[in-house]
Subunit: 143 residues, 2 copies
Amino acid sequence: MTPDAAREKFTTARSAHLATADSSGTPHLVPIVFALHSNQIAFAIDHKPKRTQNLRRLRNIAQNDRVSVLVDHYDEDWTQLWWSRADGRATISHDPPAQWLTRLTTRYPQYAETPPQGPLVLITVERWQGWSYQAAGHDGVPR
Amino acid sequence: MTPDAAREKFTTARSAHLATADSSGTPHLVPIVFALHSNQIAFAIDHKPKRTQNLRRLRNIAQNDRVSVLVDHYDEDWTQLWWSRADGRATISHDPPAQWLTRLTTRYPQYAETPPQGPLVLITVERWQGWSYQAAGHDGVPR
């Protein structure tokens, strides 16, 4: 799958998975809902219930800005499998740009009543990679 | 969600997401199919097409054995959201124990014709954590 095709796959996904790592290299994983524009991905700390706002994903990004974001499709017919990954660097914005909040609320009606109030994480993608079972015989990339 | 409930959620999932990190702390993400037994999770390098067997997930684990594995459920009704995460340490087995190959092939009929031939990664889980929108108000864990 080409980088352009990998990016296009991202636009079809309603949720993604975010990997961060702390300064000692311990990885951490959470699902996210996100918006994509140009070569940037944003997600927000939102109203979904949390015990604390001192979230490990934010602490990790503050220590180490490298992140990986994955969307994928599982199917019992493995010839239908695909995934797409965005690797890049993240910054935490405590004063989120209005256009990103608009993108998130446009994409997720769930935000209409309770727009995200918390910090917004903005990821600048440095590499798009994708894989599909069907394409991997032709232009597969290393997994 | 209690650690026991988080582990139980894992058994309901057909695929998961694996985060590794290299020695510099750069995270990496791939989907996996897996088997779970006791406090261990295994996945194999299998016949799904790859350009190389020199996979980054294996290189990362060789450098840094800490891994994070996530399963989750997305739903447009966000009150139905949940995820479950296993954090632990991974080892690569080039001579996979027969019982793990049996667990994988039992769980995935897709392996019946082409059992995994490549190395098997065995993760010893040190911490189970789970979250659900509905339970988070009561015993939510930090995300």
